[in-house]
Subunit: 176 residues, 4 copies
Amino acid sequence: SSKDVAKPSGRVFAPYAIFKGRAALSVEPVLPTFTKVEHGNLRIDRRGSVMMTFMPASGERKYDWQKRQLFALSPTEVGSLISMGSHDSSEFFHDPSMKSSNAGQVRKSLSIKPLAEGNGYFITLTVVNTILNTNDRFVVPVTTAEFTVLKTAFSFALPHIMGWDKLTGQAGTAAE
Amino acid sequence: SSKDVAKPSGRVFAPYAIFKGRAALSVEPVLPTFTKVEHGNLRIDRRGSVMMTFMPASGERKYDWQKRQLFALSPTEVGSLISMGSHDSSEFFHDPSMKSSNAGQVRKSLSIKPLAEGNGYFITLTVVNTILNTNDRFVVPVTTAEFTVLKTAFSFALPHIMGWDKLTGQAGTAAE
Amino acid sequence: SSKDVAKPSGRVFAPYAIFKGRAALSVEPVLPTFTKVEHGNLRIDRRGSVMMTFMPASGERKYDWQKRQLFALSPTEVGSLISMGSHDSSEFFHDPSMKSSNAGQVRKSLSIKPLAEGNGYFITLTVVNTILNTNDRFVVPVTTAEFTVLKTAFSFALPHIMGWDKLTGQAGTAAE
Amino acid sequence: SSKDVAKPSGRVFAPYAIFKGRAALSVEPVLPTFTKVEHGNLRIDRRGSVMMTFMPASGERKYDWQKRQLFALSPTEVGSLISMGSHDSSEFFHDPSMKSSNAGQVRKSLSIKPLAEGNGYFITLTVVNTILNTNDRFVVPVTTAEFTVLKTAFSFALPHIMGWDKLTGQAGTAAE
């Protein structure tokens, strides 16, 4: 099998970034990869995600890219975010080394909490690394307008990170 | 006339699967087929659907694909599902042999019922086969996040299973 | 200038039809046409629409295509339909000969009225022809599921009948 | 680096226009531009927008294009508009010369205010030019149907002006 066969062309970088006083949040979809299977067909190999990149502020309108931390939202986590009402909360937990011998060494949690007035959210990423003995925390307040951009763009991206935009060559099968 | 002319290329498999304790549910769109008609035009031949595949659990994190049962949602049934509020129910009945001499031998019913707390649904497929004298039942609890993925992906898929994504070559006609 | 240059390929027919006891309703988008202007650019020439075709029943599961009547929803009328809540009404009036010497000879009105229980709508087309001295009336009850298909498919179609799906070759201009 | 490499083909003009008694409003997306970076990849260079063009009425069904004023909605401003409920207001302020020596010479403000009955909005653009000593004001009342067209078309356009429709060639990276 050969990976990433679907489109060998170059990547396009078009992050949507929200710059705030203490940290910045940048989001961008990551598409799934496909594997060739029998009869020239393709099967989804690794699911896509929406990658969130957090950077701490390092001065006025400056952010330290070296100290960034990532959090990749799965399709179901994207579904959770886009279904949030203006007074709802969400929290997701990731372990980048899950199911390996390093499990538990790094723990990430992403929390989305509504502002008291219902006019936006606090998006907070916490990364605890028990090997490096570090504890990073990023807080980005987002307005309703910015959250609407996230929801609309994530809704657009969801079928793409699921690979459903590639289904247009599929012939029908018998009705059930 | 020649069938499936629209895209002769290979199929792409990208199911969205929800794995739960007693059963798994996997969904995937099935595109319509087209027939060539006069003047090189195309007419929709067999409508598309969203195929739901249910598999019973056969051990921890294992599911028995041999014992799977299918249920193909029509465009109107997709419309019913995506319009459901958090306290609504739906139920659909299919007979795979409808209008043939085998009508009534197999009866399928798909039920979607809200959880008491409004934070998800039970999706249940029942298949009664009076020839084999079998009665299969699959119950998959889905969270609000998972149901939002279904609704968003089904809304994306709906124009495609209707064949409306192929209309871009169409010239306008006189206003009425 | 040359018309319909955007896509010279054949048409694709993929109506969504609702068959009821007294009449059937079939809907399908009609794309805009474009005219070549200076520098190889294109300008929208005639806006698109969503064409509604009504046919009276002529027997069990039979409909008389010869007696069909058409009603073409403009982008703004599509906007009106897709913003309807479950208890809202809409009514649109068309004169196919508006601004010509035949104005007023044929009057069409499309009415969408909610069912008392809020679980669907009556869609009614009335066509009064003062020349032929005819008065045709079609009534199609649609369920919430069918109306959701109409809303979802019309929302998908709206940017296409506006010509906004063709804007992807457009270079940016100075910010204002 | 070379600009606007993504699609060298001609522009397509497909504005959606709302003509009212005192002024007209025409809207159209403006796509982002991209710059080639290393490895044949592309990076977004200048973000896109939704351009709003206001023209004063100069007679019956006539509008003075020479006296037009522009207002380019950013992705976040588009997010603000599409999240508006029927009783919400929005106001945006632009300075076309921001961060230059001419800052403050021209001040634009766009206001969207609900009608008392909740059945539409007043969209008002004010442009104060302290050099020319002019003060232009355009008021366009829009119906719920027209505003629904704006919201639906802007939601469609949002991923395109963000450049997310170009991400389909992107290979996945390691999960985080």
